[in-house]
Symmetry: C2
Subunit: 309 residues, 2 copies
């Protein structure tokens, strides 16, 4: 068993700032992963191998998958990219999944979503062997996570947990308000932070579009996780002094002064809220930086059979 | 496809009371299930068949399993009881599970917990085919439930949902406070009531032993689900006027005046809280009445392949 040393963020560098710096964290974690690969090689072990399946020409999906493949290469993981045009049939895709399930050299793989309309995404997701489901989307992994068993945790929650740990953010007994209840962010974050663990042991409130008075909740929160997809929705009057803000939103807003005509903002009105917060994630440069490294961390776990032994 | 008619509780009978009457509900549901069996027989369909595995001599487990088997008989389900002495090996038990998994006549089965110390409960639970896991303990069912997919929901949360539905308790936009975070009650209740569904769409707060100020939460709650296992822990000063109280606790407290030397109380100080509540479950006679019928409802769903088709 190779020990995976967690280099800690040197908090003294940040003590005069209140930024949860996803970019620096991502660099640190990538370096650790690269070092883990060197160690594996020295010990004659099997190099972690991630495969990605990309269907069609969706520009965002192409960027995401390219990032994932490149990130593998940079840290020394093996990677396999399987590209299919949008006219691939569901059965053909299922056959690819079956092949990846059986291939002993592939430790983990992802099927980039969304898939074309004629393909049943749920059927494809359910076909991935949980042992190789490094996206953590299969119900087995979701259920194991929710039951407190070892599991692949989806990329964004996984990244947030890592950030909380490395910045030593205290969560026990804290009031956490999660805004948003999606299967890939809000719901798993709420479950994880309520569990008997660190990060966790928090009193968690899950808010969403049907919440009657959101401000009432956010104003009493020690920690806010904003995952609603509405630009700059959480404003300074909605938070208390000293709050920790994890902003998961990545929204485009028109900005004629910007080169591309838009800029990216989070779900939190950053400048005003930052003035009150003890810690806050910027957008970009916050949580979003950790999604790909989360996937890589899961792939390393898969190759080490840490979740399913 | 046989239609399963839900007889509604006649709320006019209850309008002067504020009791969520689990006993009456259980009678109603058992009658509906018996009628469903009659209909199945008339149509020449397959009679639902539940199997239960009981290991050892634990008195409580014997009572529970006996109740489950008798309940099957009373409503016309087939039942199979497999009893093994406490010295059964894990491999022997795994072989029984494998057999039940393969037996096409068995629609669903349970392995009564706790198991003797020399047997790995988790391993046994994971070996049950999710399609037959009518207890809803397998991570696949837990994950599907949490992701909003069709799933077997564990008995107690399933019973509570049924109670909320049949009493037409409004949950959308309400403040729900769940006290307790167990895998079989607190956590699934929190997840279910936050989901985009009815019952659901509530703003849910999950409290537990690490919550800093429990009263602050319970006092703002429209609906409290108490599942902590501490007798009469929720007192009248902790709730607001008009609250709906679902009391999951079943605790023994010494009572020399009682025939057996003890009486059963919930996690809620019933008499005082009832005076403020718009609806409340008594103990006994509340939620506890619905656990066995929940299992029977899941077995009917299994025999109809409603969850996994």
């Amino acid at each position: 068993m190779i020990t995976f040393v967690h280099f800690e963020v040197k908090t003294e560098n940040y003590q005069d700032m209140n930024i949860l710096d996803g970019r620096t964290l991502a660099v640190d974690i990538r370096r650790e992963l690269a070092e883990a690969v060197v160690e594996i090689k020295e010990n004659g072990g099997k190099i972690p191998h991630l495969a990605a399946v990309l269907v069609g020409e969706d520009p965002a999906s192409q960027v995401y998958v390219r990032n994932k493949v490149r990130s593998c290469e940079k840290i020394g993981f093996k990677s396999t990219l399987i590209r299919k045009t949008a006219d691939v049939t569901e059965d053909q895709l299922m056959a690819i999944v079956a092949e990846l399930n059986e291939d002993d050299d592939i430790d983990g793989f992802i099927v980039q979503l969304p898939l074309p309309d004629h393909i049943d995404e749920k059927r494809v997701t359910l076909a991935i062997r949980p042992e190789k489901d490094v996206d953590g989307f299969h119900p087995v992994n979701f259920g194991r996570m929710a039951q407190g068993l070892p599991a692949y945790i989806p990329a964004t929650p996984n990244g947030i947990l890592e950030m909380i740990k490395r910045y030593h953010i205290d969560t026990a007994g804290k009031e956490v308000v999660v805004v948003g209840r999606s299967n890939i962010v809000g719901m798993p974050m709420g479950i994880l932070l309520a569990q008997k663990a660190y990060p966790g042991n928090a009193t968690v409130t899950i808010c969403h579009s049907r919440t009657a008075d959101l401000s009432e909740h956010t104003r009493r929160a020690d920690i806010i996780v904003a995952a609603i997809g509405r630009p700059e929705f959480i404003t300074a009057d909605m938070v208390k002094e000293g709050v920790v803000v994890i902003d998961v939103g990545i929204n485009r807003v028109d900005d004629p002064s910007a080169e591309r005509g838009y800029r990216l903002v989070g779900d939190v009105d950053y400048n005003d809220v930052a003035a009150k917060a003890s810690w806050i994630t910027p957008v970009p440069g916050g949580v979003g930086q950790l999604t790909v490294v989360s996937l890589l961390m899961n792939t390393l776990k898969a190759s080490r059979k840490e979740i399913y032994s």
